[in-house]
């Protein structure tokens, strides 16, 4: 049976806003801190355009051509900047390299970290839910810490469980 095989890459976007990091002393400040502050300025469309640009830049028209119809963003989280990208199996490595070489998005410095690569979307969803939970808990703890020290950065007061539930249901609701 000739089946079109895909790879689902779960990745995490880490970036900062200009001028935010000057507030924090060396030991507290890190790229992942800033990511949580940022929220959702980067949309799925931006990411797709970014990845396609990088492929064109590094692998030329040939690379871009292979991924013209196969590359898709399936999910991009708001708070956690976790995403799932669907790629044809034969060109998965190429996309991974392109993701590794990304340095900027919308004029912000950023890094992309690949968390999990999977052949089925079910397993990828599972991995994404797990990572999502870890990231949200870390984010929440940071918010608590910061609000204790007097700086409140986010107006969102929903409880930890709610946030986790919401994003988990978003991820699970993806259709193939």
């Amino acid at each position: 049976m000739v089946r079109f095989k895909n790879r689902y890459i779960c990745f995490e976007l880490l970036f900062e806003t200009a001028g935010e990091d000057s507030r924090y002393p060396a030991s507290k400040s890190s790229a992942s801190d800033q990511q949580h502050i940022l929220g959702s300025t980067v949309s799925a469309k931006n990411i797709v355009a970014l990845v396609r640009d990088q492929i064109k830049l590094n692998f030329g028209d040939m690379g871009a051509g292979h991924l013209l119809s196969g590359l898709q963003i399936k999910y991009l989280g708001n708070k956690t900047q976790l995403g799932i990208i669907k790629v044809p199996r034969d060109h998965c490595r190429m996309v991974q390299v392109a993701l590794a070489l990304i340095t900027h998005v919308n004029k912000h410095s950023c890094t992309i970290r690949v968390r999990h690569v999977s052949g089925t979307i079910k397993k990828c969803q599972k991995a994404t839910i797990q990572t999502n939970r870890e990231l949200i808990i870390a984010w929440y703890e940071k918010q608590q810490q910061l609000s204790k020290s007097g700086e409140i950065l986010s107006k969102d007061n929903s409880s930890l469980l709610d946030i986790i539930k919401q994003s988990t249901s978003q991820i699970s609701a993806l259709d193939l």
């Binding site: 880490l14 070489l101 410095s109």
Partner: protein, 293 residues
């Protein structure tokens, strides 16, 4: 266990009595934090020095800030210089920070600083790398004329002006040196990236992937990449994922062991250990557990 053996200090740190500003140390601290988050366990801060090495080059290390969770190898209270027991293991969530030197050698006389591992300024560094700028100097480095060398680091972002030859590189690998491929130049502009691909691919081809070590060369937190991504970079350079992963873990560990062996032992057979005050306690813990602390 993942190792990143090149977190770069700025140019100004390479001069005798050079200065590393608070801002620069902040960048270094952020980079180390980010590396720890990505899963790196051992990290080395790299000072690049041109030409001759003098004791004044060590001044900058005094101003290194305290980073939570990072254990400096040169801090006698908390850290430990690398030894047979401490090449890797570290407490959960911590990161071991080592001191590394890259000596840019543009003339044969510069090699004098590297003549002996034990005496002189060179002994203060945990890892020593040499960057030869010509084919002749690469040959000198590979032949083992300079005793205090662990890594051969060639500038990935610029044109070398010579080809890396099997014979020379084979000699270096035989002597136990590793070749460093830093992926920082791949993250800059298009021309540098092309040069990087060319250089990295030639090293990988000539070494057959054996003595290769991946390093970040990071100046800021965004220059570090997670281990999984670095391994993927190797794929496009004809370095299969097994060898690529080794380049990030076991080859780097081999470099640390090499550094320990050349500095603390005589021909890898005899080593002299200082009697610690800890050993004089009537402790019932085995020596290996004690050494881990």
């Amino acid at each position: 266990m993942f190792y990143d053996l090149n977190i770069a200090l700025p140019e100004s740190a390479g001069r005798p009595k050079g200065h590393v500003s608070g801002q620069d140390w902040t960048h270094v601290a952020q980079t180390i934090e980010q590396a720890r988050e990505f899963g790196y366990d051992v990290v080395a801060i790299n000072q690049t020095v041109q030409g001759k090495l003098v004791p004044e080059h060590l001044e900058i290390w005094k101003s290194a800030p305290v980073i939570s969770g990072a254990i400096y190898s040169w801090n006698k209270e908390t850290g430990a210089r690398i030894s047979a027991n401490t090449t890797g293991r570290i407490q959960r969530g911590g990161v071991r920070v080592l001191r590394r030197l890259t000596l840019v050698v543009s003339d044969a006389s510069h090699g004098q600083s590297l003549a002996s591992s034990v005496s002189g300024v060179v002994g203060e560094y945990d890892i020593v790398a040499v960057r030869p700028t010509s084919e002749k100097l690469l040959l000198s480095a590979s032949s083992g004329v300079w005793d205090a060398v662990d890594l051969i680091s060639l500038d990935m972002g610029s044109r070398w002006g010579f080809f890396a030859k099997h014979k020379t590189v084979g000699q270096a690998l035989g002597a136990g040196y590793a070749f460093e491929i830093s992926y920082k130049p791949a993250l800059t502009d298009s021309a540098t990236r092309q040069q990087w691909v060319s250089n990295a691919a030639s090293i990988i081809r000539v070494t057959r992937g054996k003595g290769v070590v991946w390093t970040s060369g990071a100046c800021q937190a965004f220059d570090v990449r997670a281990p999984c991504d670095v391994v993927a970079l190797g794929e496009v350079l004809q370095l299969n994922s097994d060898l690529s992963k080794r380049a990030l873990s076991s080859n780097s560990r081999a470099v640390l062991l090499h550094a320990f062996t050349r500095a603390s032992t005589l021909k890898a057979v005899i080593s002299v250990k200082q009697a610690d005050s800890a050993i004089n306690d009537d402790s019932t813990e085995p020596a290996s557990k004690r050494a881990k602390k």
